[in-house]
Symmetry: C2
Subunit: 332 residues, 2 copies
């Protein structure tokens, strides 16, 4: 039996969307238990009679988006997130899911759950859209680490490639390094050295990729330092968000003919917007911790949470963490 | 009399678009001379009889996009770009314009024309779109430097703020630092130290900005290390390019009603696409060199080149380089 610890209080639609997603997932995943952390009364009312394979752990605090992450996990010991992470640490659950404050989720993963022996630093990895397919690509690290070293990038690439193969079903995934040019000598010392480590590894390393090529689908896995990865990930969200905002705006404010035209292209637009809806690609996973820690977007609805639960269930079924232990434990 | 050295052979529409833009600009800028470098016969045929304030310098080589930048400027001594840069170095021209290979243009600026005394490293600065106005913002450095130091970022911010004020007419421009969080202690050592330098400077420093906020128009100037800046600039181009591609694609491939709708929204779409057309915002300027070096997009048409010439003319009229000499010459 697998057990998923779920912070029921994080995100805009908590706890309703989260509890509903758990009920839907539970009906399908017969070999999985769920522990929900948060406001006992609210959660109990939402669950109703259906308590098979569901437990509730009452907590009294909620970490908010504006709270300083590390301070929050140190001081809010009875928050839904921290207590859920403690359950994972104590092996009372196998994985952690939250829709809350990204920094606090990372801090829980790194400081409470802890890393796999031999992995220098866990890396944070979303799946992002690519142009001409529904596959997407994995980028790691996107901000668990402000300071990176070449060997971190190698570890991240290895874990992300394994994830892409086992969870996303991509055979021999193509791995690239985000850099400022195509040639092997591009970049600063960090990226030149990371290039060498990746080239010598047994990964399917295809070389450097530049910022304009990420969404082209050239690579299935992109390794990057956490600082650049963070700027680029946020920039993908920002740029696509601004463009879609401006598009909607210009369709509404260009006279009646444009408005009628806008109605006629509505379905085509929906498809486009859904492609850039990061929720569609599931939660972002912290790789390298002793149990899967998955963060999904704060505005996720029931459907997005449901898919993320299925994603976590697959990560547990494929025993990815055991595989990482085997891969990395012999190191130092 | 100001003199602009123009590489007539760079870019997709060379030399036609470039020569036509020069002729148009010349009619307006009565106090400016133009020296065109490139294929003498082709350029002469395009210019016709109108040789007042226009000179041609015949060159035999053209640096291509795929050429390795530093090697190209060392070995292709009779290329239109290198000879144009030599003219600026020798004070036979006051500024350099090219549509060619970005890396080679940067290398010409740094190695041939050279930096202003007291500026540690020149920075490369485009003007980029923001959501709710036509103003845009300046980001520096976007890739002249793979390795950056905190004091470089301070120099770049100072020069970009001066540019934003004098050339773009923004009073007391708001300066921000691209970082991985809002708080002052965010980022690696480089960004923490750059934050302190900017905070203590006399710039209108508004603090950190994150990758998703760049196009919101919060800041008029964004200082960033050249590695991250390069990744983010290219990513803005890549993400907006993919979105516009997918938008066009979905309008054409969703049946006849969508196609008719697409015709009806055509004008609204044009406005949107033009907003993300970086050419509209003029060329990217290398700041910190001993003369203005401006690169405009390789696919620029006559109109884009014409605006870039006007931009360079204004940079020369405002005597920006003299100002930078005054600001930085006393340093070491």
């Amino acid at each position: 039996m697998k057990t998923i610890a779920i912070d029921a209080m994080g995100g805009e639609n908590a706890p309703e969307a989260i509890v509903q997603a758990v009920l839907q997932a539970k009906a399908e995943l017969k070999n999985t238990r769920f522990i929900l952390f948060g406001d006992e009364e609210k959660i109990t009312n939402l669950i109703g009679q259906d308590k098979e394979r569901i437990a509730i752990v009452a907590t009294t605090q909620v970490i908010k988006d504006e709270d300083e992450p590390v301070k929050a996990i140190r001081t809010m010991k009875d928050s839904s997130l921290v207590v859920a992470a403690q359950y994972v640490k104590q092996k009372k659950a196998d994985a952690l899911l939250s829709l809350g404050n990204t920094g606090s989720i990372l801090a829980c993963g790194i400081f409470i759950i802890g890393r796999i022996k031999g992995v220098a630093r866990p890396g944070f990895m979303p799946t992002l859209p690519v142009k001409n397919s529904d596959d997407g690509f994995n980028m790691i690290d996107v901000g668990a680490n402000a300071k990176s070293r070449p060997e971190y990038l190698l570890d991240w690439a290895k874990m992300a490639a394994y994830y892409a193969e086992k969870i996303r079903g991509i055979k021999n995934p193509k791995v690239a390094l985000l850099n400022n040019g195509a040639e092997s000598d591009k970049g600063d010392d960090l990226h030149q050295q990371a290039y060498e480590l990746l080239r010598k590894s047994n990964l399917n390393f295809i070389g450097n990729i530049e910022g304009n090529e990420l969404l082209d689908g050239k690579a299935d896995v992109v390794a990057t330092d956490g600082f650049t990865g963070n700027a680029v990930l946020k920039n993908i969200e920002g740029t696509s968000g601004v463009l879609i905002h401006l598009l909607k705006d210009s369709l509404l404010n260009n006279g009646p003919i444009t408005k009628i035209g806008a109605l006629m292209i509505k379905n085509a637009l929906k498809g486009l917007i859904s492609k850039f809806d990061v929720d569609k690609y599931g939660g972002a996973v912290l790789l390298g911790t002793d149990a899967p820690v998955v963060k999904t977007h704060g505005r996720s609805d029931k459907r997005a949470v449901y898919y993320t639960i299925k994603q976590i269930d697959k990560i547990l079924s494929e025993k990815i963490i055991d595989q990482f232990r085997q891969e990395f434990n012999h190191k130092k």
